[in-house]
């Protein structure tokens, strides 16, 4: 009978034995029992441990983080969303924060240091060793959307003249350190630190150990520059099955390694952040554990801009108050026109955002997109126009009213869909963030245009509209 494995599945969130895991966290931290605390956290799914610590108050959170060893506290931070990790670190004393940060992988260190406020950053950097602080500061200078900001600096490299046997020895004797590196490759460098080759560790299987590694290494390896963009990295990993790709500076010297997983993670973050921004969450992240002041004020800055834009479009209605007063039924249709055009336009925005991300359209192809949206806008505008005019006719028995609201909605849908399709491309050309800006601009344009169409059509045929009322 073969040795059938036990079932080592990760615990399902729903199966967590503890309905309120944060209570156990706090009890174990108060007891100062680092081992049992770590063992308990290990039983939680990653989302679950982030959720658990978020439920504790600031004082309790500090107690949990300082009870754990810095290494285990760092693991816990890695499981938290970035905004939460920043919050947690800011609550600790600089010395404790520095000890935990030192245990994070280099790319996370840099990300975290960047998001801290100035005073905290300075205090923590002072507590770190000067080499370490310099390394973090150096990494933190690169934008998070470029290879320099995505790379880790923990990698294996050997001078190209090293013998295979020496590499194997090094691997064996440093097995524990390298276990954290998640290593499949080593990089070979010239005497000047320039990247000259990549060594697949599994190729060492087949090589006599007296040979130098430049006999086995893959020469002229793929590499990227510090400023290679996230999208280019994503394309590269789509195209090739690399686990990681080396990053070199302008002199060709090896600076770090960008791993596939980190690129995928950054792409996911970008998609999630685009969604949040499109709904008016500036900065692309808000957690409800953040202070109320920050949550309310960031949302409000977006809303304040919107209310100003709304006033601009409402001024069109104000200009036609007399028409409205004569045909009060029009007031019922104004919010419908505004909302429907907004919906139709946002669909086109979403498709353009998607195609931009996929690289299926380029910003300069505005005219192409405009034409493609024209046909959709004509069809859907016609259908919506007929629907709304039928409602007007049935409700008020006035064909002219039906014609006014129907034509206005049809035309405005056409405007909304074509503007919505083109807008993200135009914003991209102007180097603005289309995820954040498309919505408010579109709504303002389509509201103004929609209100103007309904009310000017109505003014033109005013006697016909009032005759049967």
């Amino acid at each position: 009978m073969p040795d059938v494995p036990h079932h080592h599945q990760p615990p399902k969130p729903s199966e967590t034995t503890d309905a309120k895991p944060w209570e156990s966290l706090d009890v174990l931290a108060m007891a100062g029992d680092a081992e049992r605390l770590e063992a308990f956290i290990a039983t939680l799914a990653p989302g679950e441990s982030a959720r658990a610590i978020s439920r504790l108050d600031s004082h309790e959170q500090c107690r949990v983080l300082t009870t754990l060893t810095p290494g285990n506290a760092a693991n816990l931070l890695e499981e938290c969303p970035p905004a939460q990790a920043t919050e947690l670190i800011e609550q600790l004393a600089p010395q404790q924060a520095a000890a935990i940060i030192a245990e994070l992988p280099s790319d996370h260190q840099a990300d975290l240091i960047t998001t801290l406020d100035d005073a905290d950053r300075q205090a923590i950097l002072r507590e770190m060793g000067s080499d370490e602080a310099a390394a973090v500061t150096s990494l933190a200078q690169y934008p998070a959307t470029e290879a320099g900001g995505l790379m880790i600096t923990e990698f294996l490299s050997f001078p190209e003249t090293t013998r295979v046997a020496a590499v194997l020895d090094d691997l064996r004797s440093n097995a524990e350190t390298y276990a954290d590196y998640d290593v499949q490759y080593a990089y070979c460098t010239s005497a000047f630190g320039e990247l000259v080759g990549v060594l697949r560790l599994r190729d060492l299987l087949l090589t006599p150990s007296a040979k130098p590694i430049n006999d086995v290494m893959i020469r002229k390896p793929f590499f990227v520059r510090l400023d290679t963009s996230l999208q280019q990295l994503h394309d590269l990993f789509e195209d090739r099955s690399f686990y990681g790709v080396p990053v070199v500076d302008e002199g060709g010297r090896l600076q770090g390694v960008v791993r596939r997983g980190d690129v995928e993670q950054a792409i996911t973050n970008r998609a999630e952040s685009d969604y949040l921004k499109s709904q008016g969450i500036i900065g692309g992240e808000e957690l409800r554990t953040m202070p109320l002041r920050i949550r309310a004020s960031r949302r409000l800055s977006w809303l304040s801009l919107n209310i100003l834009l709304n006033l601009v479009s409402a001024s069109v209605i104000a200009a036609y108050q007399d028409t409205l007063a004569s045909v009060i039924a029009l007031a019922v249709f104004l919010p419908i026109i505004s909302d429907m055009s907004g919906c139709a336009g946002n669909q086109a925005v979403a498709v353009s955002m998607r195609e931009l991300t996929l690289g299926m359209i380029k910003p300069f192809e505005v005219l192409r997109v405009w034409t493609q949206e024209l046909s959709v806008g004509l069809i859907n505008g016609l259908v919506l126009g007929v629907l709304v005019s039928l409602v007007a006719i049935i409700w008020k028995g006035n064909y002219w009213l039906g014609a006014v609201v129907g034509c206005a909605l049809a035309l405005n849908t056409l405007v909304a869909v074509t503007v919505g399709g083109a807008l993200p491309l135009i914003l991209k050309m102007l180097k603005r963030d289309p995820a954040l800006a498309s919505g408010p601009i579109l709504t303002t344009v389509t509201d103004m245009c929609g209100f103007f169409l309904v009310l000017s059509f109505a003014s033109a045929v005013l006697p016909r509209l009032t005759s049967t009322q």
Copy 2:
């Protein structure tokens, strides 16, 4: 002087030598020059090749795909978004389609087969070998969001009694086949096909070759079930640095391997699809290369639902026509109230969607979220209310009008924010898709409530509003 590498960066999209790469595609396909066609495609970035083929008409696309070898055509399809790959395959003769599909990795095969329409699927399956067709059909039965739907069936497995030397021999003699597998691990099975261990190939480096692999293998390996969810897989990979995890059936028999990259990709797809659905793109994907009929009708089905919901909320305005007729200025504020409440509510929806994805809140914690949004709603409602009432007072010089619109917007923002925060959790509990349903439901509730608040407040103080007009 060391051997400095040439710069093997992936070509930047902006640097593509050819402004309209689709023209070269078509010329090479017409010439029937498979090698130069493949070489040309290899120079394009992945997004670029998908974009290039999308620009050709149906006839030209077929010519490109059939000129390439099936293996190269499959590589090209892998670079296209799923919806585009489906479109391309549907244009081919079943025999050609089957030959290309056979070259895709097993998880892509299953995804593609699932999205084909019934007639095409049957025709293509008939052209495949019966074993192959059975394997694809079997994989296609699992949902794309579970381990069964995400796994590949190309993996290395050896009976646990195999000797290390035999494994090394097998690796050497099948090096070419295995190159596609992207192998770091092999799985060890019992005589009954049950998973009993995992073998890290690099561990073979250190093992005498006469030993059986169950001496080196890691026993009781991690594994997941066919129905393990995408989120659980994501958590697992966040928690451990596995490259892939084996999938077993109910009998513990090895069925496939889920790779880290495929899980990350699926998570990204989910984020992108949530964004598209929130903007009214049903199904979560639309490319402008799709037929107009499909694009217009899918968007329209969402818009038609919205216009119905709009009519429901507008009926509140209709019920208060007399009040409106007396204070026509109110008509100017109705769209502002509707839009601002919608914005404020959508911010709360976005934060809840985000926290649900991260696992930071559970659907049953509705009350907790509601309370947390209450404070934000109070602050932001107050600020927006004051702003809009100031506008009304300055414009019309009537403090009562200011009070009516200000109080209505403040209260309605509070309603929108609390409902918006809770809605995704409630929809999740009811097993509805919050990305698709939250927006329309929220807008309808907040519009009805907002219109009612303004117009009922106005009716209550009507003499005060009309006295100064």
